[in-house]
Amino acid sequence: MAITDTSPTETATGSAPGASDPTGSAVPNPRGLAGILGSGDHMTIGRLYIGTSLLFGLLTFGLMGWFGIDAMSDVHSDRAPQAFTLGQLGLVFLFLMPLFIGLATAIVPLQVGANTIAFPRAAAAAFWTWAMAGILLCVSYLPSVGGGIAGGEINGQGLTFLALAGLVIALLLATVCIITTVVTLRTSGMTLDRVPMFSWSMVVAGGLSMLTLPVWLANVALIFVDATYGSPAKYGVATDQWAQLSWVVTQPQIFVFAIPALGIIADAIATFAHARQPQRGMVLGAIGAFGALGFGAYAQNVFNPGVHHNWLYVAQGALILLPVLMFLGGMIGSLRHGKPTLASPFLNSVVALLLLLLGAFAGAAFGLGRLGLQSTAQQLVQNNITIRVVSKGEPIYTWGVTAIVVVAAAAAGIAGVYYWGAKLSGRKLPDGLGKLLAPILLVAGLLAGAPYLALGLVAKADGLADSANALYAMSVAGMALAGLALLLTVGPFIAARAAVIGGGATAEADAWGAGQSLEWASDSPPVTGNFGQLAEVTSPQPLLDLAEGGQS
């Protein structure tokens, strides 16, 4: 057995109800703080990721709102650009990516019929490294420390870059654990084209993350070395740092962080449509193509000036619409073959898909030179138009695309938390509250992103700059609504988990009564080892096979 291989009974140290010890010789699972800190149980790690990332999400949406409020005022704070950079990086590395990794850490082993996640100790180490690095990153931005990007001092910035490197390395480690689980630990008969959509989307997202985030890490390393040991020559100059790092939160790279959203949407819609996914190969291909077209490591404006006008970049932005439309076609096909139930995960998935479609359209429009959307703040100043920005070389329009895609992915993440709530916490989260979140998230996405898209037209629309304050106010309202949605997710999630730990009733295994994939065959919450002996899987929907009396 490899050093990292551990049997489920050794690794799952959570207090899953129903776990049994037939020999009576096992050491009791630690409970309380020891059970959390020392756990290699994929469900415990997943819960920790989800809860922590939702709390970080509240912070990051708050920081983005602060920047908007500052932009409206006559006197700008020196700290506002720092709030913006922390908010933007936080949306990706403290909120979206860890939220999906948390869901995947908990759910992917169940979906592929594995007893545990690959490298459970590495997965636990990745979580704690990520959490500590996240806290360090926030601390480094404190005025007393003096770090942060866009305005920090070199002494404090060392902590910022150390934290950023820690975040990315931890998230990549967690990603490796998840991809390896899907690739190597699938149950008998589950070929790669039979894995549930969420697991497939995590493979695609993980692959793209492994190909792009190390490049971003290279940017961080270069800035760190130059700022710390150099004069600095170029990379470490405080005013130029954000321009080197911002490609990771703008299109096309921002779409990479939304890939798992497609998996959640597909799984939830098929479940609540009560139908097998038609054209499954097309949907799998659409998710893969969406990922491939999100590759953005080359789109670094600092080293590749004029990349926004490059035909490859423009074509990539336009082509990404195709997989989204293919995916939409697949979802419509699902709905046509079944009778949809309007449960909260379904509604939130629909909202996420609509926002993602809007984000893809907006991204495609960015390449249209006649609209002047690629105008940077530096170019606008030459036309006597002043817009509050952080980097003078960054088109403000891209913030709008980013905000819409982030809220779309957040809506899918929230749909996932409600959808798999019974597995994650032990009981279903309140469905009525979840339904309420769908319109909130739709409005949040529109308000958060559309104002920046409109501001992108400022070069061509006379007088639009005069309305900038109203547009910033709308964006602040959108961020506040997104934060509210997170609050209404993390609250019920913690309450449900606390109720189950306190001995409350747990949900049925197939909590929605319509499960198609293997996670719905495990207890809610899953017992240690997840499953007993599983029959051979012969289709992507093994539970439907069984319900329909076919071979499974």
């Binding site: 990549l172 991809i179 190390p214 490049v215 150099g230």
Partner: protein, 207 residues
């Protein structure tokens, strides 16, 4: 919404201890392949920036290397040769463990580590003779020290990985039927060698 249903019996968790883990299909190898890909992309990003900056400066009719700097070929060539030899050694180790030839496997793993140490030693000497001061306005020192320094760090990581696998091989954990750990270490090692080939060409040959 449909009513909650009971799970069919054949998928219901049984009230027994979970079955023993199945023979895992090369988990360590797959994970190492992804880690190696990430490592290669890290250097691809850095070398891409290096070549872009160099082309920009030379395109502006500027001088790329700082005055009085010294970029010798001898040390990088020796490093490349040592790394290529180490690649052969680590592959020899994999082959030996596949044949259950443990003495040869230990010897090959040991020689791999020796070659690794030699490269680290040569890199330290090379940095001493480069004669480039990082605290200048030139881009070259920052780029060269970041790229070469990161590669040395990664190589040390590969040595630790290989060393761990060597100790496990000493403990008898790897055989002709199960040699994933040694194979994974070899894969990561080869990735470091490939990276150095590009560094050698981009930095020390093209200058």
């Amino acid at each position: 919404m449909a009513a909650a249903t009971k799970v069919p019996a054949s998928y219901a968790p049984i009230d027994e201890a979970p079955p023993p883990p199945i023979a895992r299909p090369r988990v360590v190898i797959v994970a190492t392949a992804f880690a190696s890909a990430g490592c290669i992309m890290f250097f691809a990003g850095l070398i891409g920036i290096y070549l872009t900056e160099r082309a920009t400066v030379l395109g502006d009719s500027g001088t790329w290397l700082p005055d009085k700097s010294n970029f010798p070929l001898t040390q990088p060539n020796v490093m490349l040769l040592a790394l290529l030899c180490s690649s052969v050694m680590v592959q020899w180790a994999v082959d030996a463990i596949r044949r259950d030839d443990r003495p040869q496997a230990f010897m090959a793993l040991g020689l791999t580590l020796v070659f690794g140490l030699a490269v680290v030693n040569m890199a330290a000497y090379l940095f001493a003779v480069l004669n480039v001061d990082i605290a200048t306005k030139s881009l070259v020192p920052v780029l060269v020290y970041t790229i070469a320094g990161a590669h040395i760090l990664m190589l040390v990581g590969a040595m630790i990985f290989t060393g761990l696998m060597a100790f496990r091989a000493l403990g008898g954990q790897f055989t002709s039927r199960q040699h994933d750990g040694v194979s994974a270490a070899a894969m990561f090692w080869h990735a470091q060698v490939v990276v150095f080939v590009f560094i050698w060409y981009a930095i020390y040959i093209t200058k």
